[in-house]
Symmetry: C2
Subunit: 119 residues, 2 copies
Amino acid sequence: MFDPACPSTASPFRIADKWGGLVVLCLESGPRRFSELRVPLRRVAPKVLTETLRSLERDGFVTRTDYHENPPRVEYELTALGRSLLPAIAACREWGAANFDSLLAARDRYDGGTATTAA
Amino acid sequence: MFDPACPSTASPFRIADKWGGLVVLCLESGPRRFSELRVPLRRVAPKVLTETLRSLERDGFVTRTDYHENPPRVEYELTALGRSLLPAIAACREWGAANFDSLLAARDRYDGGTATTAA
DNA sequence: GGCCCCGCTTACTTCAACGTAACTATGCTC
DNA sequence: GAGCATAGTTACGTTGAAGTAAGCGGGGCC
């Protein structure tokens, strides 16, 4: 469970940094172009999106296809490995949908009262 | 899905930073003391563990109980909200167990051959 | 009185992620 | 030859998490 080369560091707990999970979600319904990914992702900086995509590509989650056209056209698509992430991501999203309010409430409560104390 | 105050930033994609998920797992089978958490977590620095626990506490995932004994005894335990994370974490762990090798293989492959090219 | 235990805290450093802004490359159209 | 479009790259700076090393507090024990 807690090996030296522990998978947890590389696992979907942190899919390719902050945006990785969202990018995978954006690609769920099919290939997307660079600029198509930028729109839903709240205009994430191109630099960051490039880094994220490279990272996902490195890990074998997406493929990058450059059509050498002009103006440039490049498509990103999920691999089988990338698709295998979807259930885990869905589980996380479901948690968020069900419990995000509780989390915010807990944070609100935390401002003021701290440590539970006994004995 | 991509709101301004997007849940994804706060959701289990990143549970209270790097160690949060593992701490929650360590607490799955019952309350644990500070020093008991340090052992399985590969001797994570006390500073980092404290920060992680405070963060989990803030988000309402764990409770901290100080027994005011000597030598000090403090126990951390999952709340209901904390337990609600377990299925999502399990999904991620299952993914890791099933696909971690593929991920490593993809990274190996990446050293050398890059971008898929068409047309 | 001095040392041990445990659960921290403090000060400092390192590193990667994130973000902004501006610029590049290419070929097409006007 | 100016301007447009897409898919980036480059240079730079900020932020925050992670890690290292050391010290604190206070009762118990010898």
